[in-house]
Symmetry: C2
Subunit: 80 residues, 2 copies
């Protein structure tokens, strides 16, 4: 079972990397950019075939390792 996890900074948490990218895009001549925020994705393939069980395992992975839940949000999407 294939899944995609997206981890992004919570609203209000400063994102210096996103600001640097915004600056770099400006230097390259792109204008009209209101904001850039960077995050991470994980594409995970599990042996588990039960959707609910896979969802539970993936949430658990996020809580324990993949996301810092103090400053980050995560979304789990199972792609079947």
């Amino acid at each position: 079972m294939q899944a995609r996890i997206t981890v992004t900074l919570k609203n209000g948490v400063l994102d210096p990397q996103g600001q640097a990218i915004e600056g770099a895009l400006g230097s390259l001549g792109f204008s009209g950019i209101n904001s850039v925020r960077q995050g991470k994705t994980f594409e995970i393939e599990l042996e588990e075939t039960d959707r609910d069980k896979a969802q539970k395992i993936l949430n658990d992975m996020c809580e324990k390792l993949l996301a810092n839940t103090v400053i980050e949000d995560y979304r789990v999407r199972i792609m079947g």
Copy 2:
């Protein structure tokens, strides 16, 4: 106009970071993991309101800065 860009390594390109995460998940007791691959996301807010123009600008940003198209693929999703 809000958009999300996802940049992932092309198939066949070695992903040592993904392998390290796979190892770390194993150490935490997670089993049945076939593969982990890591990527990046960018959440970008543009002033542009025309969907086609925004798509073109975002593709351009990927080609010029956000993705290394030799080893990475990118997907642009406009969320309106």
